[in-house]
Symmetry: C2
Subunit: 332 residues, 2 copies
């Protein structure tokens, strides 16, 4: 019998279609191919091919020269621009504003041929330190209300360049999905006076069935009502609404756990395309007792079609308990 | 300057990235290839290969025999099943219920090699009559609260069989996306005492900039804040919340307009994969002054990536005014 499950935060129902339970081998493989570094603008010594960097971690050299281990640059084709006024305005019954914001690329390694899972713990950790450093800088601009870190790995997941990188977009509005999570979590908090993610962590650690990994400060779980097969969340164990306010050990644990999770997914699902997103509280808002920052990792194994677009309802052929077991047991 | 636009119903903001305005030729083509009828279970004379039909329009033959022009069958691998009890229950802090519902396939033509746009006006119209007939039957089951019609055309849009068909899923809950539309529209109605879609139709017909087509009873428009390039909505001009209560002339107009819209998209975008969805009011609810049924057609031209998944915010490289002009001017 298929099962309907409700995500306790977003209020979204999903269909866990257990009858056609899919094992990793059932998914069409779309392995990532390396197409070569010949013209890659993200490679070391091609710094002149990108806009000037806004941040780099380096042991030698001056800005925009070789010697870096991580480099942050403005996106050459930004979806939003930092210059100009918001000018909110009507257009008859409609609302619009100028596309003010920031769109940056975080190049995670000078080397072309490594994936995130191939990097050292320190290098993966640095991605999150760079995110924190960029938030600290960007939030000074009071027009910017929400800053998301995301990674598209592989063409099917939307990546247009293969050199390992993440992106950051700073928005002048709090996006719908973030608002929904915050509102859903606030309703739970109003009723229980507890953070819903804190409760999720407690219940998941008690049961263990959906736990992928656990460390001192972080936990990786398959959510109870996942939209996609092998969807995995990484959460800090101690409540914290703003990623940028995390303790040092938490960010260190996040780097280490992300690296292992990606390696596990690469092993179990044969190097799938994937998306990674960090959900944090709006940067201009004070600490929230009801919101708990977290990271979502979604391998791109199924196609989103008319039913999902039309309803916001997802059909997931892999129960999260099975996905968690596969990932938990994978040795990397 | 990129522009942020807000959808007046869902409250979703989109980025219209006018700087990188994309014309039809800029999109990677994924033309639909016909792979042959050799083993297709939807072809005439292979009726025995599918579960027994629940509806057919035919001039000759008995049920499950040749002689039909349209045939509705239960999905062989249903996401939901009609048998059993809902049994809503908790699972610690989580909620679940059994996957009760219906999942049916509407085979739009006995012939393997035709796409929806190749069919006659009457055949396309019949798809919508079949949807109405199935709603009339399924809504007798009071457990079923929402019935969506959708079509996935082409592999990239999620179709697993190439023979032209649509699908219908009847759900025991009103899905999130439908609730959001209904709630958004109710807020507008509470404020203005007018239906938001009626206002959209009025403003769009006045301006004309985003109109794709108009007939006596229906209008096709590019929405003001489209998530995707060439996203198009077809709406009835006269307010009506439940698709199944539409007048005869409206359904006739819908069939004719859908056929021409698909032909226009096939011409302008070189036979793209696409999704089509009908959004109607929950079947057990009375008529709603604030909800207006409509159809969305979305060609699959861009990839949804981490930013969109993480925020519910969409970056659309094609302003709707340009998309509407291309479609409006395409001669088919």
């Amino acid at each position: 019998m298929p099962e309907l499950r409700r995500d306790p935060i977003a209020g979204r129902w999903v269909i866990i279609a257990t009858d056609r339970a899919k094992r990793p081998a059932d998914f069409v493989r779309q392995p990532i191919e390396v197409r070569g570094a010949a013209n890659c603008p993200f490679c070391e010594s091609r710094e002149f091919k990108t806009p000037p960097e806004v941040l780099s971690y380096r042991t030698q050299g001056r800005p925009n020269e070789p010697g870096w281990s991580l480099r942050v640059i403005p996106n050459k084709f930004p979806a939003l621009r930092i210059e100009g006024d918001l000018t909110r305005q009507g257009d008859g019954m409609y609302d619009k504003m100028n596309g003010v914001g920031a769109h940056e690329v975080l190049i995670e390694s000078p080397s072309h041929d490594l994936s995130l899972g191939d990097l050292s713990e320190k290098q993966v950790e640095d991605l999150f330190w760079a995110y924190r450093d960029r938030i600290a800088d960007l939030r000074k601009d009071k027009r910017l209300r929400y800053i998301i870190l995301f990674k598209n790995h592989g063409e099917a997941a939307g990546a247009s360049l293969e050199h390992t990188h993440s992106q950051l977009i700073a928005l002048p509005v709090v996006p719908k999905r973030a608002l929904e999570e915050i509102d859903g979590a606030r309703k739970y908090y109003d009723f229980k006076e507890r953070c819903v993610w804190c409760d999720v962590i407690r219940q998941e650690l008690d049961s263990g069935a959906r736990i992928v990994m656990e460390s001192d400060h972080m936990v990786a779980v398959a959510p109870y009502a996942p939209r996609f097969p092998f969807e995995t969340w990484i959460l800090p164990k101690v409540h914290c609404s703003h990623f940028e306010n995390s303790e040092i050990a938490t960010v260190q644990n996040l780097g280490a756990m992300t690296r292992v999770l990606v390696r596990k997914m690469e092993k179990v699902l044969e190097r799938p395309p994937y998306n990674l997103m960090v959900h944090t509280a709006p940067v201009q808002d004070p600490a929230m007792p009801h919101f708990h920052w977290h990271m979502e990792v979604i391998p791109k194994l199924t196609k989103v079609a008319g039913f999902e677009w039309g309803t916001g309802f997802y059909i997931n052929p892999t129960p999260p308990e099975e996905a968690a077991a596969f990932l938990r047991e994978a040795r990397v």
